[in-house]
Symmetry: C2
Subunit: 256 residues, 2 copies
């Protein structure tokens, strides 16, 4: 059993460290991850400059580590195509600090690392801790190991990955519960903050407050708000099949 | 009528210049594009450093130009949220030098600029010239203007964008023909080329030969190979709805 771990918070982030430690009993673990935080990179890849790969060792661990000066997608690609001795049995990405819900998954480096797995025909899971302060990755990592066992047993459809968000619940109040969800929709308001630098020139910071525009029952956003573990199967077949016939009716050959 | 143009080859690329010149008769044109080539960025956005915006003027043109030190997605986001006087009527991204077909659309900066449009509730079209050598953007730009007129007239479903690939056909031999297609699938072989730098340290270049693993009748890949203009409607609703019920049958609450 060969397990490939990646993330977008960087190879030295606490979340990936917990994940590695928990997954090691399952098989040979390789950690191939960005050498620094690379969140919100989407499925960006590095084609205009070369990639460097540095060995990383972990205390009290036989896991092999490689830090790459690229995106999460670069890491999974170079791992599968150049670094690992054989194709991995599964890619596990995370554990991300902060949720990856709704529209955010399109921007997420954590999800992109998993997507790069399925693009390379390897089943994949992306895991995020839906909490920012006092993060406890322990429960999330233990849960992920149990989920990985199920996925390896049951299999996933070709090209489907699982996006998992685990809330920071208080186990004495809310016993954990799993909900299989669909993606909600998020937008951001007041995104750009305009500032002047010391030389009077303008610059902009991207930020913004989240606006959950579709967060009804059955969505990942609603589920995490209720303190449930959300598991959303994702399939990046982005053809709008329904619309193909409609657009054929436009008789576009008239505009040639 | 306000038209927002972006791309991933950079604001000074020939393809975006042809597109701007052709679209100007339709209304007020704003060009907000990366200050340098930023291809294969996916839907990456810049959140860890500030964005700079520089005014750009075009010879013999009233179009407003802004060069941004960010990704295509950053450009469309900052245009709609901070730079334009009102929300644009349409986002047109391109004209990319080289095709954006099949799986490549997930990595494409050209497609991501259009996707950022629909995420901001603006209809969008991504346009690529499926040719690398001796590119003639003239026909592609003229065709895009006619397509933009149709899209503004007919409208697009919310969140659907059009991905257009225009081959470099020889009009005397192959009169242009349009095919409304679905995405094919591409993989890359021999992706990483390992080299030694002058100090004996390893680095890797990402490259690889394309492998069309799904390019049958009705796909964008097949269509462009035949010299047709391919129009693929894309919808980034990536929930795998079919798989939700199946995974519910796994009784995952047993592993809590």
């Amino acid at each position: 059993m060969l397990i490939l771990i990646s993330n977008d918070d960087g190879i030295h982030a606490p979340g990936i460290n917990s994940l590695r430690a928990s997954l090691e009993p399952l098989g040979d673990v390789f950690v191939v991850a960005p050498d620094r935080p690379r969140s919100a990179t989407g499925l960006g890849i590095t084609i205009h400059k070369p990639l460097r790969v540095e060995d990383v060792t972990f205390a009290d661990s036989k896991a092999r580590g490689y830090a790459v000066n690229g995106t999460p997608s670069d890491c999974v690609k170079i791992a599968i195509q150049a670094l690992l001795p054989v194709k991995p049995d599964i890619v596990v990405s995370g554990i991300n600090l902060g949720p990856n819900l709704g529209t955010d998954v399109l921007y997420s480096g954590t999800v992109s690392a998993a997507l790069e797995g399925v693009i390379n025909d390897v089943p994949a899971i992306a895991v995020s801790l839906a909490s920012w302060d006092a993060p406890d990755f322990g429960y999330a990592a233990d849960f992920t190991v149990r989920l990985v066992r199920v996925v390896l047993d049951k299999g996933l459809p070709e090209e489907t990955l699982l996006n998992v968000n685990i809330p920071a619940f208080d186990r004495s109040k809310n016993p954990p519960r799993i909900n299989v969800t669909r993606l909600g929709k998020r937008r951001y308001e007041n995104i750009f903050e305009k500032r002047l630098d010391p030389r009077g020139k303008t610059y902009y910071w991207m930020g913004g407050e989240v606006l959950d525009v579709q967060a009804d029952l059955g969505t990942d956003i609603d589920s995490v708000k209720k303190g449930e573990i959300s598991i959303t199967p994702l399939l990046f077949d982005v053809t709008d099949h329904q619309f193909i016939d409609l657009i054929k009716g436009w008789n576009l050959n008239n505009i040639l």
